[in-house]
Symmetry: C2
Subunit: 373 residues, 2 copies
């Protein structure tokens, strides 16, 4: 089947599963491995879209759950779609809303049809089904839409995960059946199966059989130990075809990005860089810095001496500390800009290191700087 | 005496006291009448300095009171001065801190020497005297510094205002004596005298006699009726020489700007455009708009169809309403940018109208749009 989105493999690392590629979309190419900034409510917080683009971002993520509730997907459609509404012309990936809905413990009810839940804004009742998730994402007009799935909790027993996976598989078929705008929007499938290898294999075979343009490995980073997460991830990736992009959702700390890439993942997203920015944290080549710290009071050097972003070119740690202490919006603006630049630049370094077959060496360098080890 | 700042009169309106001029400073020219955005804590809230400049601002204001307490003027001096600290290379005007200190009812004590007060941040005790106000502003390195004065409350009886004025006059002499960096920083005097014409005249004669590079008309907009404010202002301006700029502090609504210009004032500042922006208000040629209003929900037109700012070029009212309702920082960013652009563009229109000798006609046009009358 011909998809609106294709993946081109450029180079494989010789010692790990890391791979360098390009995702071709109708709104432009995405160099992979890629970090996708999150614009939950149709804005990457505290940044103009031009600044997001300047940081090197080639795709952003937006959240179906939030946007269907406010301002409403029909309104976004009326505005001409999400790209036009928020003034971002490069690709957008939307999630299915499933993850947020399943996080609302007690506030939601799962049936074969879908999930009923209460709005976090006003408590009103809503329903998400595979068909509605596709409909909402169609209205938003994202370039990549995600299938509606259940992300089982951790821990969960085998029987629950099996039952959940079977339903998720039926939901995937319903998503595919409901998805008609295939010429412009690519539907990604999501692998589930919890921490159970047999179920992961079953899930993988099912989604691959459906020949979708990309696959996500879901149900990870839900509370399990890091080692277990990485082992399951390592196991999962091998079932996925070389000619499709692989995506792990909600992952954004430098270590998880490296570990994910090392295991063959191409796409990541996380609110981390902008969220910690709003708490006064700078992500730097020397590790995370709490800008409220007294030691930066008279520090007139940039946040990161290895960084050439707008923030680092023009402002000192002392100034940014002052802004953070003064609760100035400009603190969030400057730190979000820097942190996003830092992470995206790190991904650029990862891509280059794969091209030069020195991924593991680059990983070691970054770890030594960021984690001091 | 040769000053670091000079005023050049270009044209007088034929029917009012409105005048078109240029203030020449070492950091560039300022076309007058001018509106100066306020960067209280060394940042014009929610805007990058380049965006402030792009709005057409040729000078900004910063607050001595806030900066001496946080981060501290010595730290700003250590950073290389306020311009470098905050990345703004055009002129900066600093107030003396007096106005803020006198607003802290009960928390301050006035003596001949100066004013003791408590920090709004941590309650610690501080003192401002004419000498300290000059010292702080010298450390900040502003292009225009303001004399330390007392702004008497409204209403206040003649005897109180007379006593206060005499002290303010002695303080002005002390400011002048303490001000040594005259080659780079211009000290403006401030006229006081409350609502009493005899005291205003006395004050005016005193400050003019001192041959300062510019004069502010202080003690207005402190609670008196608008008509009285304008009458006193009208009276005051006539005592000021044609070859020096005249400044009314803290004034920024369109009507006060027009009324001030009409009475011969050249300089204004106000937090209004950025403050109302953070409350979701757009200032437009059709008047102020509350962007939370339901009627903008499906309005895909720009904030102001007569505006060509970044916000209006790229975003709809519906999008901005969504951001405001969602408490997104981007709402403050886009509205601050627009409101500043709106006010500064209005001043541009005022300057042009004076050049073309149609100030009153322009005033009428703007009033009809903004106030619907």
């Amino acid at each position: 089947m011909k998809h609106s989105l294709t993946y081109e493999l450029i180079k494989k690392d010789s010692r790990t599963k890391a791979r360098r590629g390009v995702i071709h979309t109708l709104r432009g190419d995405i160099q992979t491995p890629v970090f996708m900034p999150v614009g939950t409510q149709a804005t990457v917080k505290a940044m103009r879209p031009e600044q997001v683009e300047e940081s090197g971002a080639e795709i952003i993520l937006a959240n179906t759950y939030h946007l269907m509730l406010r301002p409403g997907h029909k309104l976004v459609e009326e505005a001409g779609g999400l790209h036009k509404f928020m003034n971002w012309n490069k690709p957008i990936l939307t999630d299915s809303g499933g993850f947020q809905v399943f996080s609302l413990k007690g506030l939601r009810k799962i049936t074969e049809d879908g999930v009923t839940f209460q709005s976090y804004i006003d408590g009103s009742r809503h329903i998400l089904t595979p068909e509605i998730a596709v409909e909402v994402q169609t209205s938003l007009g994202s370039d990549i839409m995600m299938a509606f799935d259940e992300c089982p909790p951790y821990p969960a027993d085998w029987h629950y995960v099996k039952k959940s996976l079977d339903r998720t598989n039926r939901w995937l078929q319903r998503c595919k059946d409901a998805h008609h705008n295939t010429e412009k929007q690519a539907l990604f499938g999501i692998m589930q199966g919890g921490m159970y290898y047999d179920l992961r294999k079953e899930s993988a075979e099912k989604i691959v059989e459906m020949d979708l343009p990309g696959y996500s490995i879901g149900g990870l980073s839900v509370g399990e130990p890091k080692e277990q997460m990485l082992e399951v991830l390592d196991y999962c990736v091998d079932f996925l075809p070389d000619n499709k992009p692989r995506y792990v959702m909600g992952v954004g700390t430098p270590d998880y990005l490296f570990e994910g890439v090392e295991r063959g993942v191409d796409m990541f997203d996380c609110v981390l860089p902008t969220r910690v920015a709003r708490n006064g944290q700078a992500m730097t080549s020397e590790g995370p810095l709490n800008m409220k710290n007294k030691r930066f009071e008279h520090d007139f050097t940039p946040l990161d001496h290895k960084c050439d972003c707008y923030t680092c070119r023009n402002y000192s740690r002392a100034y940014i500390r002052h802004l953070v202490k003064s609760n100035e919006i400009m603190a969030s603006m400057l730190l979000s800009n820097h942190n996003l630049h830092f992470l995206i630049n790190m991904m650029k370094g990862i891509r280059k290191s794969i091209e030069e077959d020195r991924f593991l060496e680059f990983k070691k360098e970054v770890y030594e700087g960021y984690y001091g080890k």
